[in-house]
Structures are given as C-alpha cells and as structure tokens.
C-alpha cells in the first residue's frame, strides 16, 4: 500500500512565524502535491512537483513556497504565517506517467492554526 506521511496532524503557530510542513511518500512517485482545504471551497492546489527540484505553482501559491530536495520528500513553507493561512493542509503523491492510471494518494492531513 502507498504510504504518504505528513509530519504533524495538528500544529499551532503564531503570526509571522516561518512554518514548515513535511510530507514523505514511500512509493517512488514522481508527482507530489500540496493542497489546502477550507469549508465550502473544496481542495485548492498550492504547489505541485513532478521531479526533484522541480515545482509548479498551483492555484493559490501566494504566501507559500516549497522544497523538493529528495524524491520522497516534499516540504511546504509558510514564509511568514498569517491568520488567513489557518486551514487543513493535505499532501498527495502519484506516478507521473499519464497511463499509470493510479489515483493520487493522500496523507492524513495537517490541521494548522495560526494565532
């Protein structure tokens, strides 16, 4: 079974802090994704990476950056946390080849509160 592990289930930080969310997958997937989920807004893609050191902005990248130094690890960074970044953050991974036919596999999520 694919395992996607997010470093924290719950996190509380203060406004202005630099926040790191870590995600590790064990299936050698090329693609990794960071989403945030807010009530009524569904899943919104923050950033996407298709290879080591490669990244693409998603729909809402402002205020975030990412790092992918190793294939299995994808980090989301809130450069200076603000209260409007309080949310559920979900990491996912999938194979890159179009015809792999596998869905995205999700971690358990990190519920982040910025005070």
């Amino acid at each position: 079974d694919v395992k996607v592990t997010q470093s924290s289930r719950y996190l509380v930080k203060r406004t202005g802090e630099k926040v790191f969310l870590e995600c590790v997958q064990d299936m050698d997937h090329e693609n990794m994704f960071w989403y945030r989920q807010d009530p009524g807004l569904g899943l919104r893609l923050i950033y996407f990476s298709y290879d080591v050191k490669m990244k693409e902005k998603g729909d809402i990248p402002e205020g975030y950056s990412v790092s992918r130094e190793k294939k299995e690890r994808f980090s989301l960074i809130l450069e200076s946390a603000s209260t409007n970044q309080t949310s559920m953050y979900l990491c996912a991974s999938s194979p890159r080849p179009y015809f792999s036919n596998q869905p995205q596999h999700f971690g358990d999520g990190t519920r982040l509160s910025i005070l």
């Binding site: 693609n31 994704f33 009524g40 807004l41 569904g42 899943l43 893609l45 996407f48 298709y50 693409e56 998603g58 979900l90 996912a92 999938s94 194979p95 890159r96 179009y98 036919n101 596998q102 869905p103 995205q104 596999h105 999700f106 971690g107 358990d108 999520g109």
Partner: protein
C-alpha cells in the same frame, strides 16, 4: 478551462433509500476518480474509472462514467449511516493538456444518512 461540477453539494437522506450524485466536467477526459472523506480525516480513493462505459461497484456504492456526456454518477443503494461522508470526484486533464496529472476537483458532496 477545465471545470468539474458536482451536484448536489449537500444531501440528507434516510437509511434504506437510493440516491445518485452527479459529476459533470467540461472537457474531454477518459479518467475520473471518486474519493471519500470522513469528517476530520483525509481523502481515500474509492473508484478509478478509466474509459467510457466503465462501471465499478463496492458494497452499496456504484460509479459509472460516460465520457461522451462528460458525466460520472455515484449511485448509493439502500443507504446506511456508515456512508455519511463527503464524496469528491476528480478528473485527469487530457494528455494534450500537458501530462502533468494535476487533477481538477469538484467541490464535494456532503452526504448525511439519517436513521
């Protein structure tokens, strides 16, 4: 722009009844995924539908895909309380769109099954 629309967004139903959730999408795609999310939890893959006419069944849930109509349905038979969750559909953009496998998500259908 590829859009995915689910309806209804909220569904309250009685145990034992049948109902269908609809997922419409706006461009050509022959790959669609259904996910389930329990309150406070992450997303779990339910069905992967890979071609026109595909039908998958698991317990009281049956999913189908009509690529010509750009429509997928998730049918619930004789609902039970344990099916209460949010159900998302997601579409793989066509290969010509860039082969990046960034899924396009519906907003989710929040299902409550009442005794």
């Amino acid at each position: 722009e590829l859009k995915v629309e689910q309806n209804p967004l909220f569904l309250s139903m009685q145990e034992g009844k049948n109902y269908t959730i609809y997922c419409n999408y706006s461009t050509t795609s022959d790959r669609l995924y259904w996910y389930r999310q329990d309150p406070g939890k992450s997303l779990e893959s339910l069905f992967v539908l890979l071609s026109n006419g595909a039908v998958k069944q698991e317990g009281r849930l049956m999913a189908s895909l009509d690529t010509k109509a750009r429509l997928s349905t998730l049918h619930i038979t004789a609902a039970v309380h344990d099916l209460s969750a949010t159900y998302f559909c997601a579409v793989d953009p066509p290969f010509e769109a860039g082969n990046n496998r960034k899924l396009i998500w519906g907003l989710g259908t929040s299902l409550a099954v009442n005794p």
